[in-house]
Amino acid sequence: MPKPDPSQNCGSPDHNIHRRKFLQGLSAGTISSMSFAGLFGAPAFAQIAKKKQKHCILLWLCGGPSQFETWDPKPGTTTGGPFKSISTKVPGTHFSELMPKCASIADKLAVIRSMKTTAKEHTEGINLLQRGHAPRPPFTRPTLGSVLAQQLGQLESKIPNFILLDPCPEGNEFKGFKAGNWAGWLGAEYSPVRVGGEFKIPDAHRLDSITEDDHEAREALRKFFSKKYENDRRSAAAGSWNATFERVNGLMSCAHLFDLERIPRADRDRYGSGAFGQHALLARTLVEEGAPFVMVANGMPWDSHVFNHEIYQMVVPDLDNIIFQLTKDLEDRGMLEDTLVIAMGEFGRSPWINQARGRDHFPDAWSLAMTGGGVQGGALVGATDKYGAEVTDNPFNEENLFATIFSALGIDPHAEFNIPGFPTFHHVENKADPIKQILS
């Protein structure tokens, strides 16, 4: 299979760059980006501008990954489990022996070992770590992906601003979450487009019986009447439907970008044959094409109440390789400084082994890692006690984490959402500080 042209895009000159961010960089004015469309026809210019776009890939380790078998090993203790620790490229920092590849690029990773949150169950934890705040009914806070889609993306983009790659259709509590309201008060246009595994983009090709001209004419007519309806009735629902139509229209020109088969075999082999690795690779290619936020999940494989060590001997090396390949590829493409990669779940796992050879949910002291744009490679913050049962240094919660992510991506973490008729909400509430030690 031929290697794809790195300048390949959705087919429209509008997609060569992300105009809103580009314009923000050139001018603080409110000039319509549409009038600049012609500027971006030149591929070289578009390529330079594309690099200014910030991106984020969230490797969502749903179920709650064990910190002991990843970033905070405790070898030789009663809680440490059978896996040893290994030294890394950063003197004094050790990872689990299951992560030799990450150990070799530890100078590019930022690790937080002192996450301390409150949610003990999945639904609660997923909501907390996806939205960055505890629920406040009746208001539904948008997820991280939805906020980043709004902040980093552009409405007129044909490639979705929030892509969820999740090849596992199930996932217990995560399945319930997936069926819920991701975008909250931002509206449906900031919900994810879900692709992966059994979830293909259906009917994304124009029928042969309809000419291109006819297709465009129909779309113009639909857009006219829909916008008129939306304006006449001030209908948020109609607005969401219009946004959905726009998205479908965009997907018709981008569907090929979601086809794993188009990616060279050598790349696919490097990422490992498992579904998670394959979709992490797909995330990389989508980011290359301009997607601002891609979340990669795979059900809830990290929920190891049973057979913790027997499962982690497989899933952790898989993750180790995925983080390594993503980091290396983004760096090779000059995109690492503009792309934040986050690997985290909704909590960690208990120090103690239960009767089923597993580890249970543990929000008291857990770890996560980031790499790429906005974070300081080699940073290690926080610490836990000998057994990994308590945070002993620099506890951070979900608000600190979200403030860090927003800051790393150049977004004001304390900016207000402008929602008429709503109380004042902020990207991050309580003026929570970002974790400055890991910001570059």
């Binding site: 179920g63 009663t78 217990n172 044959s273 027997e310 499962i311 001997q313 239960n354």
Partner: protein
Amino acid sequence: MNSPSLKKAKEIKLPSHVLDLTLGKDNQIYAACLDGGIYEVSAKLKLLGEAYKEIARHDNYASGVNWSAARNTLISGSYDGDLKWIDPAEKKETKTVKAHNFWSWQSRLSPGGSLLATTTGQYLCGGYKYEPAPETEPSVKVFDIETGELRHSFPHTPPVQSVAFSNNGKLLAAGNLTGEVILWDLSQNGKEIARIKTPDFTGWGIIKGHYYTGGVFALHFAPDDQSLYLAGMGSTTDPAAGNGKQLWQKFTWKDGVKKEAAAADSEIGEGLMETLAFHPGGKFFIMAGRIFKGDWNAALFDHESGSKLHHQNVGFRISASTFTPDGKTLYLAGGANQGRPSEEKKWGRIVIYEVIS
């Protein structure tokens, strides 16, 4: 036959979960524990001091301990991949052999006490649905107890979690994560003679996450060596549930592989079964492990009929079992809940039962 039953005689606490135990000279108990220690354990009442004494230590979980009466030595296996020869009288290690680059999941001694089989293999992603990748080293090895030399090595699909010698010492069986058991004839230079494949012990996560769990955790040849018992947990679609059946199945292979018997659904609950041992009389066997649902985690089954004869809820997860040669005593070993960690907590358990039959 009168139905046998069990009467609890004593419970002993050890520093950490007991993964294996064996009986040495004069039925001296030896335990292999999660903390890496190999312990000599006293069943006698002690008013002062501990009931156990460390006699050797591995760098990782100690997964096996075996007594060779013929060589007057203990041989232990571990997740550090090492086998250790231990002189029980001197309470010291006499030899260490690197057996594997990954864990020794299980080790078993041949009936004559001259050979030791050990199994290994890391489960690594080998396909889109997380099928196990091929082995990177032989998954089954057989060592000479006298010299420590490797006598046989056999390929299998990792991880290989269980191994058993036949009662005549000629056959070797090893079972893995995906429910594949290979039988080799050691008297024919290790020729493969049968391959049992069953999906019943393996779960793949449809509900929660995509990977394989379970497998065959215990193997035991029937007294006449004409059939082989497999034990573990029945298939489950939720890898995090641990709610598969408490399962054993019996297979024959002489006229083609055939499932001959299995635990009756009406007599079993749910939970992983980790150990299966025959009573020296050969009439019945014990299967034990964890209880998830039901009313027992250790039960005696009739070899001929497969019927459950007696059951107990021991109160903790069981990983190992053995009868004394006279059949009058049963030892079950495992561990209670580890709970919040501390240096002092002793969560390993050995419970001694009088066998009444």
